[in-house]
């Protein structure tokens, strides 16, 4: 029988304890807070839970056809016509019981490919998909009922459905359509054109090797070019679509033929206004088609209540297709449709609604005062909104959707924070958003509290109550820290304190700039916040810190893929400082080649695939007459450098410093040899588990690495308030937080850093040798950026906080900390207060972000064994909440392994 790591440790007198602060009870403990949704929302959610992730070619067909038909026209206008055609030909679907209608496609949980961004995957898989389409007809359609594990993922083909990469289902009749569409973009997509030009960058060969080795996870220019930002709903909410079309017509009249002093892009304003006008017309028609569909259904509906609801939908959609919404329901329906329009114009994840409790406040306040709506009705609408947002799927490459996003779309709703004049911004509607998050537990929108000491206790305790329901939301972000970051980063573009207070979180935890706009409703004026910056998490992402360190030890050579990735340094390190210097040198080489090549990709994107929907939404495009690519947005310094595996790198550097250079117990060559040989263990994928505790020794292992492995494991680790280790983190952060200043995005703005793992700690861990902290080859890195490696934080949460805040978090766009708590640790009202105190303590120390998984690890282990019993089990991964059954095994293993706090 193979020896497992736990056996080896036992022999060394060590244990791998994944519990801290006590011992969990033997029996499984369920989450404490449980509430149910309204009957309506529960039914709609139930449909979602039975729904397969589905792909259709309807939108891309019309986009492609009209784009091709307008060859020779100005690119903005050509794209405007194509998007217009896409929206106008989308077949609307309305489901019984819905109060809010609309979707990306005709399916409940639909999405579609955009070969104009990237078509390579379909070309590479053309034959495979076609063969699957031919073969699938022989299987029974009833097999659909077999899809329990995997949730809505179409993990394999069945009946007349073909699986695309184990995630999406497509009707077999559309497979040929998909590949035919893709073929039309060969050599023309953003991916292909960008690739043609990025090869002209002198450092391109290094970039190519860096991507192959998975030092970096993915390109950004053609994968998810927009997102991780905060949308802005102000313009349609204030002016209605008729008003926006009128603005465009006025813009055309004012700018046609007039550069107005701008000899480079002054003339482009005409084309922008014309393109936006076209898209707006398409969006209006799309709304009106929903009205038509509702009328059609009403005409044949026998149930009087349902018939009335269809008629109401028709009236609402007809009104908001043209005008400012008149009431809360119309406003909510409008922002939902705006959101769908936004995510249909590009491959987008993390287009976050932002502070909608404050955006929708004018309608809520006036409806409540006039007695037009009750809180119970608002709650039901918000539950419906949750289901609709959860239905958003993003079709992007598998590496991105599976490996990075875990299928999540990161629509973050923020609560709390401060108003424009510095007062607590939490309101009654936000309390209802929290309540809906508890009663209708779904992955979207995820919730985040912009924590500020000024926020009322009642609101904060409500947020804690939501947290205890086990949803993993709200996450807690430091409002003051966020404002500081915004001021520093966007000050050069004119940011002031008032507008800094309008910031919100885009994606999982990307701090994004906003502004306040004055909205008038029935003669009363309100300041509402909204996004005003370009996409974030574009540029360089994600750099694997442990992999860069591995390159230092292997002289730039990747043994996994047998490739010289980075130029050999050929150095013998006499001191730790020399080794660390080389680490930074390699880091700079990696960033540099990724900056220049991704700049080219994004430049191609802005020339060929510029945003029009988000450009008419975001200030100040409509005023300037310029889209995002021409820096129409207020804030443009949003490109960032993201990393992963920070804590494994810190622990590894500490061990190298201590064991090799200070104690001289091992030579660097001996340590490197142990790492290359994985301390005598098998690789994680050989045994099919990616957490440390499950790893097994190789059959031919002779124990020669046992001592060095034990020393690596038993040394000091980050997360225990040990200055020697934390000092290494502080030194790295001091360098890292300033490293972006010397790089320039295509918008001629400096980069900044972003620190969160999303799901990259799994695939990038899988591509990394064993590390000097004792982690084994192929296993997942520590999650997030400030979480301790599982089982290594042994001095309690407050010691972990001390370690995490040894550097200034406001110098980074974010940091990320996940804590897993046993439900008993926060039981009852006393437990709630303890959880709030814990959160508050971290915020006051300057931690930027913390989120909690309140779950018994035994439940997760049971869910791995019996996934069919846990279709709606939610867990917090790293900045997002996801259905357990829809995340990959490496991440499941990592969440199971996280240290479980039995008390706080």
């Amino acid at each position: 029988m193979a020896r497992k790591l736990v056996d080896v440790l036992e022999e060394q007198g060590m244990s791998l304890n994944l519990q801290a602060g006590g011992e969990a009870p033997k029996e499984m403990v369920d989450r404490e807070v449980k509430e149910g949704a309204t009957e309506r929302a529960a039914k709609l959610k139930d449909i979602y839970l039975q729904t397969l992730s589905s792909v259709t070619c309807e939108f891309p067909y019309w986009y492609n056809r009209v784009f091709q038909a307008n060859e020779g026209d100005i690119m903005e206008v050509r794209r405007g016509r194509a998007l217009k055609a896409g929206f106008e030909h989308l077949t609307p679907s309305i489901y019984p019981g819905e109060l809010l209608v609309g979707a990306k496609t005709q399916y409940y949980r639909g999405s579609f490919p955009m070969p104009w961004l990237s078509e390579g995957f379909f070309m590479a898989k053309e034959d495979e998909l076609y063969q699957a389409a031919l073969a699938s007809g022989s299987a029974s359609a009833d097999q659909v009922s077999a899809y329990g594990a995997g949730g809505g993922n179409v993990t394999e083909s069945f009946g007349n459905v073909v699986s695309i990469a184990g995630k999406y289902g497509i009707r077999k009749d559309e497979v040929r359509v998909l590949t035919k569409l893709a073929r039309e973009w060969v050599g023309k997509s953003v991916d292909d054109v960008g690739h043609r030009y990025e090869q002209m960058v002198p450092e391109y060969p290094i970039k190519e090797a860096v991507m192959r080795s998975l030092i970096c996870m993915f390109d950004s220019g053609y994968t998810l070019p927009q997102g991780r930002e905060v949308i802005n709903y102000f313009y349609p909410l204030q002016y209605g679509y008729d008003g926006l079309i009128k603005m465009c017509e006025e813009g055309i009249a004012e700018t046609a033929g007039r550069p107005d002093g701008d000899g480079i892009i002054g003339m482009s304003r005409l084309y922008f206004y014309e393109a936006v006008k076209l898209v707006l017309e398409g969006i209006q028609t799309w709304h009106l088609h929903y009205a038509d569909e509702a009328k059609r259904l009403a005409a044949t509906e026998k149930n009087a209540k349902q018939k009335k609801e269809y008629e109401e939908i028709a009236e609402i959609m007809e009104h908001i297709a043209h005008k400012q919404p008149r009431n809360f329901r119309e406003a909510l329906q409008m922002i939902y449709m705006v959101h769908m329009a936004s995510v249909n114009e590009d491959a987008i994840s993390g287009m976050s609604p932002g502070r909608i409790g404050q955006v929708l406040w004018p309608w809520f306040e006036q409806d409540m005062e006039a007695g037009r709506i009750t809180e119970a009705e608002v709650l039901e609408l918000l539950e419906c909104y949750r289901v609709k947002m959860t239905c958003i799927d993003c079709f992007a490459s598998m590496g991105v959707v599976g490996g990075v996003l875990s299928g999540n779309t990161f629509n973050n709703v923020c609560l709390g924070g401060l108003t424009r004049d510095g007062q607590p911004a939490a309101n009654r509607l936000e309390m209802l958003l929290l309540e809906a998050g508890m009663t209708c537990q779904t992955t979207q929108p995820t919730l985040s509290v912009l924590y500020d000491d000024k926020l009322p206790e009642e609101f904060l305790l409500k947020a804690v109550e939501c947290e205890k329901s086990g949803t993993g939301y709200p996450a807690w972000m430091n409002n003051r820290g966020g404002i500081e970051f915004i001021m520093k980063n966007y000050g050069p573009e004119g940011m002031n304190l008032e507008d800094a207070r309008a910031f919100s979180i885009g994606g999982c935890l990307e701090t994004s700039p906003g502004i306040w706009k004055e909205l008038e409703l029935n003669g009363k004026k309100y300041w509402i916040p909204g996004g005003a910056g370009q996409p974030t998490s574009v540029g360089v992402h994600f750099i694997s810190n442990p992999k860069v360190l591995e390159m230092v030890l292997t002289n730039g050579y990747d043994r996994r893929i047998d490739l010289q990735v980075l130029p050999p340094h050929n150095k013998t390190f006499k001191t730790y400082e020399e080794l660390y210097e080389q680490f930074l040198e390699y880091y700079d080489i990696v960033i540099d080649c990724l900056v220049t090549t991704n700049n080219i990709q994004h430049d191609v994107w802005r020339k060929h695939n510029m945003s029009l929907v988000n450009s008419f939404l975001k200030p100040d495009c409509l005023a300037k007459g310029q889209h995002i690519g021409n820096m129409g947005y207020r804030y443009n310094a949003t490109y960032n450098i993201e990393d992963t595996g920070t804590i494994n790198m810190v622990n590894s550097l500490y061990n190298i410093k201590k064991l090799v250079f200070e104690d001289k117990k091992y030579t660097l060559e001996e340590l490197t040899d142990a790492l290359i040989n994985n301390f005598g263990f098998k690789n994680a994928d050989e045994i099919g588990s990616f957490s440390l505790e499950a790893q097994e020794k190789r059959d031919d292992d002779d124990g020669r690495y046992d001592q060095i492995h034990a020393d690596c494991l038993r040394s000091f680790k980050y997360g225990n308030d040990i200055p020697e280790v934390d000092g290494i983190l502080a030194e790295f952060e001091d360098w890292y937080c300033g490293c972006g200043d010397k790089y320039e995005s295509l918008y001629a703005k400096p980069f900044y850093v972003c620190q969160m793992s999303v799901s990259t700690h799994a695939p990038q861990g899988a591509a990394t040798l064993a590390s000097a902290d004792g982690r084994l080859s192929g296993t997942t890195f520590a999650d997030a950026s400030m979480s301790a490696y599982p089982g290594t934080d042994r001095n309690g949460a407050y010691a972990l906080f001390e370690s995490a805040t040894c550097w200034d978090h406001s110098r980074s766009q974010n940091s990320q900390m996940n804590l897993k708590l046993h439900p008993n640790a926060v039981k009852g009202i006393e437990g709630s207060k303890k959880l709030l105190d814990l959160t508050r303590s971290y915020m006051r120390k300057g931690g930027f972000h913390i989120q909690f998984n309140i779950v018994d690890s035994k439940v997760l282990k049971d869910a791995q064994k019996h996934p069919n019993n846990y279709r709606d089990l939610l867990v917090r991964v790293a900045g997002f909440t996801q259905y357990w059954v829809e995340i990959g095994k490496p991440i499941q293993d990592e969440v199971v392994a996280r240290t479980e706090y039995e008390g706080v």
């Binding site: 067909y61 056809r65 005709q106």
Partner: protein, 87 residues
């Protein structure tokens, strides 16, 4: 010509690639490829349109309904196609 399925019916609202809701049968959820019923009412698709010509074995053909001809596919819904003309 391929046999009609529920996705070809006007009474059917698709949920996903395998199933949908039949409005003619009390909004029940049914599989797309299960047998259709006597209430079947064709929905506008390219394959039902006069402009759809020269379809190949994959049901991909030519649409000559617009100023510029282009390819299309039989299963494309044409409910909101401005040139749809029922065969």
């Amino acid at each position: 010509m391929a046999k009609n399925n529920h996705a070809d019916c006007r009474n059917f609202t698709p949920i996903d690639v395998a199933k949908g809701i039949c409005h003619a049968n009390n909004d029940s959820i049914i599989l797309i490829d299960s047998e259709t019923c006597p209430m079947f009412t064709p929905i506008a698709k390219c394959k039902c349109c006069k402009c759809f010509i020269e379809a190949d074995e994959n049901n991909i053909g030519i649409c000559d309904g617009f100023k510029k001809k282009d390819w299309t596919y039989g299963d494309l819904k044409a409910v909101y196609c401005e040139q749809f003309t029922s065969k």
